[in-house]
Symmetry: C2
Subunit: 449 residues, 2 copies
C-alpha cells in the first residue's frame, strides 16, 4: 500500500533537484504528513529548506505538527520568520502554542506578531499551564447558536470544516456565548433540515474548566469514551476543545513520567535522544545522592553489629541476599499500588483493604522464601541455627517490605504527595536498613553472638 | 451539572421500590452509562436485578459495556441466560466478545446460541488472539459501494447510525467486497448529493491485518492520529474496525504491563481488586525466587572474600551502600531505555549511540558519587586507603551498572525477548555480584588484605 522508504526519499530528492514545484506538490499530496516526517531525516539542510518553501503552507503545517519540538525549533531557524509565521498560521492553535512555547522569548514575539489574528489565539493559549486543559486545548471548535436550524448548521459546517480540529461534535451557545448543549454529527444526519437546534441538542453537556489537570481530563475521556470535550472559562463560556488524539499523548506522557519516577529519576522533558547528556545526568543524580546518603543508615547498622560479624563471618554472606529480597518484594508491591492509584483502581479509602491483602500476599511469599532460605543458609553457613536465623529474617523482611511498599504510596496520596515518589529505590533503602536491623537482632538472640 | 452521587442513588433506590417502570426509565435517561456504573455498587443484588430487567436492553447494554469483566460475569449470573442474551445482542460486538471470553465455555455457548445472528459475529471475533487487532476490533462499521452517490450514502448512514461503532469514517468497497477507499464525514458534508462516492473517496486507505499486534496498532493511531482504522483479512476484505477509544485502553494496558514487568512482577490480567490473593502472589513469586537464587551468587563472592573481611571488618560496612548504588544506577538506566523502546524513541540501530551516551552519563554520575563516597569511607573506615578503595569501587560500579542497564533491554529486543524482562530487580542482582567482585578485588590490590 505504501511505497518503500528509500524509494520515496530518492524520488523527493530528485524532484527537489530537477523537478517542477507542481510535480513536487503532487507527489507530496500522495503521502501522509507523518510519513514525510520520517523522510525529512534523509534530506540535508538545503533540501529541507527548499522543500518547506515549495509546498503549500497548510501541507507544511500538517508536517510540522508531527515533528518533535527540537526538530520544530531547528526548522523555524532554517526557514526564517516570514515563512515560519505563514506555516504557524495554518497549524492548529494548540500545536502552534506548544511550538512557540519552546522558542526563545524574542523569537516567539516576532512570530506571534507576524501571525496577526492567529497570533492572538496562540498568545491566549500560552497563558495556561502546559499540563492543564488550557494547555492542551485548541481553539478551532465548531459552535452554533441554539436558535439556528439544521440547515444553517450544515452550511456553517461546510464553511469551517477545513479549519476545525473536529467536526464530530458541534457545540451550542446561547446569546451570552454560554455553552448550553452539544450535537453530534449523528444527530444532524437524522434530523429534518428545518428543525431548530435547541429541539435536537443534548443539554446534558459535560465540560471541563481551563485549569483542570490534564491527567483528570484523560480519566474523563477514558470513563466516558469521548471523542472530544469542550473547555469553558469561569463564566461557562466556551474557550476551546480537547480531542481524543491529544489525550493519547497525555496517556503516554503520564505513563512515561510514572515509569521514570518509579525508577527514581526525575521525568525527562523530552524524548531520550532530544535530551542532552546534562539533562540525563541531572534527572538521575538527585535520587542517587539521596539514596547514597540514606544507604549510610545501613552502613551504620552494619557497624553496630561488627563484633557479631567478626565472631561469625558467615553472617555477612547473607547480607546481599536479604537486602535484595526486601528491596525486590517492596518494589513489587509499591509499583503495583502506584500504578493502581494512577489508573484509579485503588483509592485512598482502600488503604485498609490493600494492607490486609498485602499482609496475606507477603506471608505467602515470605513462607516460600523462608523455606528455601533455610536450606541454603544451612548448607552454606554449616549449622541449622544459622538456617533458622536467615529464614526468620527472610520471612520478617518480605512481609515488612511488602506491606510497607504497598502502604507508602497510599500514604503519599493522602498527604497530596505524588505516590510515584515512593519509588522502588527509596523503599529499597528503607527496607535495607530495617532488614539488617531485623537480621542482626535475630542473630544475636538465636546465636548469642 | 451532575447531581451528587448519594442523591442519585437514593432516587434510583426509591424508584425501584415504589416508582413505575416509566419513571425509572426517564430518570436513567438523564444519566451517563459510566455514571450508572458507579451507582450500581450501592444497590443490593435484588435491586440490581430489578433494575436490569426494567430498563430497555440497549440502555442496559451501554451500562454493561462500562463494567469490569468480573462485575459483568456476576451480572450475567444474576440475570439469567434469556435477559443476558437480549442485552448482549445490543452490545458492540467487540465488548460482547470480551465479556463472553471471560465466561465458562458451557455458559458462553448457551448465550451465543440465544444471540442468533449477533452470536455469529461474536463467535468470529472470539477466534482472534485478544492482543491482536482481531481481538479489539468491532464488526459494526459503515460501508458503502464505490458506485453509490452521496445521497445513497447519507440514507444508508441514517439507517445504520444508531448501531455503528463510529460513523465518522465510511469505508468504500468494490464488487468483491475489497476495501478500496475511505470517506470522512467532512467529505460527505461538502459534496453535492449526486456525486459518485468513487469521485470523492480517498483511495490511499491504510488498514491493518486481523493478526496485527495491538501495540503496533496503537502506535499507528498515535503516529497518524486516526479516529478509527479498518481491519482486513488475508484477501483484503473488510472484517472490522478499531476505534480510538479502544486504543486508549490498549495504551493504558500496555503501560501497566510494562510498569509491572519493570518491577519484576508478571503482569496481572485484571485490575488490583479484581485479582485474587493467589494471582497477586503468583505474579510475584516467580521473579522473587529467580532473584533469590541469583543472590546466592553475591553470597558466594562474599564467602570467597571472607578472610579479607575478617582481617578488616570495616570493609563490610560499605557492602549495602555499594549494592544499592549499582542497583539504583542500573535500574534508572534500564527503565529509561525500556520506556524509550516502548514508545519508539529508541530503536535497535541506536545501540551504539545509547552506549556512548550512557557511558558519559555514568562517568558523570560515578564521579560525583565517588567523591562523596571517598569522604564518607575515610571518616567511617578511619583511613584514606579505605576511602580510595570505596571511591574507586563506586565509580566502577556506577559506570558498569549504567551502561549494562541501558544495553541489556536493547540486546533483549534484538533477541526478540521483551525488553521489560531486563527489569530493575534482574539488573540489580547482576550488578550486585559484579559490584562485590570489583570492590573486593580493588580492596585486595590496594589494602593487601
Amino acid at each position: 500500500m505504501h511505497e518503500t522508504h528509500t524509494h520515496v526519499t530518492e524520488q523527493i530528492k530528485s524532484l527537489l533537484a530537477t523537478g517542477t514545484e507542481e510535480a513536487l506538490i503532487d507527489f507530496v499530496d500522495t503521502l501522509h504528513p507523518a510519513d514525510i516526517v520520517d523522510l525529512l531525516e534523509e534530506l540535508d539542510e538545503a533540501e529541507r529548506s527548499t522543500f518547506f518553501h515549495a509546498i503549500p503552507a497548510d501541507v507544511a503545517a500538517d508536517i510540522v505538527e508531527e515533528l518533535e519540538p527540537i526538530d520544530q525549533a531547528e526548522l523555524i531557524r532554517l526557514m526564517g520568520a516570514e515563512r515560519s509565521s505563514e506555516i504557524l498560521r495554518e497549524m492548529d492553535s494548540d500545536d502552534a502554542a506548544d511550538l512557540i512555547a519552546e522558542l526563545p522569548a524574542a523569537k516567539a514575539e516576532t512570530l506571534l506578531d507576524l501571525m496577526d489574528i492567529h497570533g492572538e489565539d496562540v498568545r491566549e493559549l500560552l497563558q495556561y499551564d502546559e499540563h492543564s486543559s488550557g494547555g492542551i486545548m485548541a481553539t478551532e471548535y465548531v459552535s452554533v447558536h441554539s436558535e439556528w436550524t439544521v440547515e444553517q448548521t450544515l452550511s456553517e459546517l461546510r464553511r469551517v470544516a477545513p479549519e476545525a480540529e473536529t467536526v464530530y461534535y458541534i457545540y451550542v451557545l446561547d446569546d451570552d456565548e454560554q455553552l448550553v448543549g452539544v450535537l453530534s454529527f449523528r444527530d444532524l444526519v437524522v434530523a429534518a433540515l428545518d428543525t431548530r437546534i435547541d429541539a435536537i441538542m443534548n443539554t446534558n453537556v459535560l465540560s471541563v474548566p481551563v485549569e483542570a489537570d490534564q491527567e483528570d481530563v484523560a480519566q474523563l475521556f477514558k470513563k466516558y469514551r469521548f471523542l472530544a470535550l469542550p473547555v469553558v472559562d469561569k463564566e461557562n463560556k466556551l474557550t476551546g476543545i480537547i480531542t481524543a488524539d491529544d489525550i493519547l499523548d497525555v496517556f503516554e506522557e503520564e505513563a512515561t513520567e510514572d515509569i521514570q519516577k518509579i525508577a527514581g529519576t526525575t521525568p525527562l522533558e523530552h524524548p531520550y535522544f532530544s535530551s542532552s547528556i546534562k539533562e540525563l545526568w541531572s534527572s538521575r543524580i538527585v535520587w542517587l545522592l539521596v539514596l547514597f546518603l540514606a544507604a549510610s543508615l545501613s552502613g551504620g547498622i552494619m557497624q553496630k553489629f561488627s563484633t557479631a560479624m567478626q565472631t561469625m563471618i558467615e553472617l555477612t554472606f547473607f547480607v546481599p541476599l536479604l537486602i535484595d529480597c526486601g528491596g525486590n518484594a517492596g518494589s513489587q508491591a509499591s509499583t503495583v499500588v502506584i500504578r493502581g492509584l494512577a489508573v484509579r483502581d485503588i483509592r485512598l479509602r482502600d488503604i485498609w483493604a490493600v494492607m490486609a491483602r498485602e499482609l496475606v500476599v507477603g506471608l505467602g511469599l515470605g513462607a516460600v522464601m523462608a523455606g528455601i532460605g533455610f536450606l541454603r543458609a544451612w548448607r552454606v553457613g554449616g549449622s541449622s541455627a544459622i538456617g533458622i536465623v536467615v529464614s526468620l529474617a527472610v520471612l520478617a523482611i518480605v512481609v515488612f517490605s511488602t506491606v510497607l511498599g504497598a502502604i507508602l504510596p497510599i500514604v503519599a496520596t493522602a498527604l497530596r504527595v505524588d505516590p510515584a515518589v515512593m519509588s522502588a529505590p527509596l523503599i529499597t533503602t528503607i527496607v535495607d536498613a530495617v532488614g539488617l536491623l531485623i537480621y542482626f537482632s535475630i542473630a544475636q538472640l538465636v546465636l548469642q553472638v
